[in-house]
Symmetry: C2
Amino acid sequence: MNLRMKWLRNQLLPLKLDGMIVSNPINIKYLTGLDEEGYLIVGPKENIFVTDSRYIESVNRKLTIDDEIIAYNSKELDKYDYEGIFMSYDNVGFEEKYVTYEQYKKYLQMFQVSMSETDGLIENQRIVKDEEEIEYIKKACEITDNAFEYILDYLQEGVTEKEVAFELEKYMVLNDADGIAFDLIVAFGENTSMPHAVPTDRRLRTGDIIQFDIGCKFNGYCSDFSRVVFTAEPTEEQKQVYNFLIEEQKRLSIAFKDGANIKAIIKDRESEYKLKNFALLHAFGHGVGLDIHEQPFLNSKVDNYAKENSVIAIEPGVYFPGKYGMRIEDTYKVEKIGTTQLTKYKKDYIVIKL
Amino acid sequence: MNLRMKWLRNQLLPLKLDGMIVSNPINIKYLTGLDEEGYLIVGPKENIFVTDSRYIESVNRKLTIDDEIIAYNSKELDKYDYEGIFMSYDNVGFEEKYVTYEQYKKYLQMFQVSMSETDGLIENQRIVKDEEEIEYIKKACEITDNAFEYILDYLQEGVTEKEVAFELEKYMVLNDADGIAFDLIVAFGENTSMPHAVPTDRRLRTGDIIQFDIGCKFNGYCSDFSRVVFTAEPTEEQKQVYNFLIEEQKRLSIAFKDGANIKAIIKDRESEYKLKNFALLHAFGHGVGLDIHEQPFLNSKVDNYAKENSVIAIEPGVYFPGKYGMRIEDTYKVEKIGTTQLTKYKKDYIVIKL
């Protein structure tokens, strides 16, 4: 059995759980490496992965005897099999952040055990990355940097946001990425004022600013990166906003060291935004790993402390509704002191001629 | 207010609901056209879309006075605002198939109303498509047919499954698709034995059979299509399996007319599979619309009747674990008598020379 599965089994007793049902596919991948549909039952007697006939062959090709996981086709399990599995279980944990209300009721009925919330047990464990995970994230960051460098050459008068987004995806996939980490954002001109702009057929014109927010996956692990590109000399106002973002990001990247109080750091930066009269349209950042948005979330709502070897995206942004917006973002690894930047593209003004 | 919103409001009273919280983004898109994150509160007094600061500008750009929907930034709503909204509500419907157990508990606490399951109310309504929806699906089918024709020319010795899948996606996106409707399946040789094969770096060799399962979206609406391609003259066994699938699909496409008993039809075909000793690794098909898999599901588990103007994918498949598999699939519109095929690529043996 691998270390992560052993870790989970060791959590159960102190939590007074006889077992746990893992339903979130990202958590299943984290624990077992499997990305087939199904759910995992972790218990003192055995570990069971319940999948269906579409996936059973592929699951069985991947699992080895060392995994100590038995795969079943759900069709072949009846009421009595579940009774057998859960016979010695009184209280089983489930993932209330992932399981739907309907599924919860089905579990109750099928398994005939009492079910307890687990409050992000596995998600919390995923915050601190091991060496292998860091290597995968670094590789995703490297592909993203290279894709951005590639796309700067591709940009020309008249290309659409959609075409540019697609060209970025193509570069990523043909250069070892599993795929994109989220729907890539490429926004021109006035569309940059929306943090979650969806690429349209809007064509690029000289004078536009361009917002990129891009990332890919490598072996399941994500990168996250944003840059602004100018197609004309930036105005004084634009320069001021841009410089402000660079300073903000730098300040945050220094503040986020092992043990730092996230709530306090973010509260402080929120005050700065208020002073400058800038609207806060999104958080200052988030953890990055198997999920593109995972813990820790860089907001001032909950008490939370930065941890060494966690990976976070830091992304201050400033937006003027209907006019334009800018956001700078890099993926960082949190260290004992400060952070190491994993996406590395430079942050000088990027001015291109179409 | 549009017809779909009016329809939903008319459902509430007979269901003894004072309002409904719509959380499933596909249902929100169906009702309002919005694809921003958030949830919709439909009530007798007003319709409210609660989103957040990332999306508020984009939502407000889309909504007009005719929509009769008020958009709020969730940050600007406090306990007292929710009290105001839900003051005259006793019992509110929610989507138990979509809402997580945690979210359900949050809704209860925030809204201070009693919440009732709605048992797929909107999903059921989505089964029968209107003319506009059919047009969008037809367009998605046409793009898919063309993408398949295009890719046959692209195939050559040594290309990888991943490269072919990506080339298909590129063709779709550059030819008016919003994007792919699901992770495209391109499987070579022995990989075809897994119905949900994920494209790998496996290279194409003469003699391989190739399984395609592809589809795209147009204005949010999906297409679904599968074909087998031979790179050498098919063996007698392969021909028999292929012909069996063509016959199966034809039989089903005739059986699925308005009012047909889905359970009975599928039970009958399952017996045929058993007689032939073929494993049933997946259902015979499913509804297609804003979701790639939606109602009706073509299985023998629940009582269900086909409806005119619903759209379904019919996809019989036969698999020999570790060896190979084949699946033929087209998207059909259900008519008063029989069906109309919407993906149109021919079904003769497709034999290509690499």
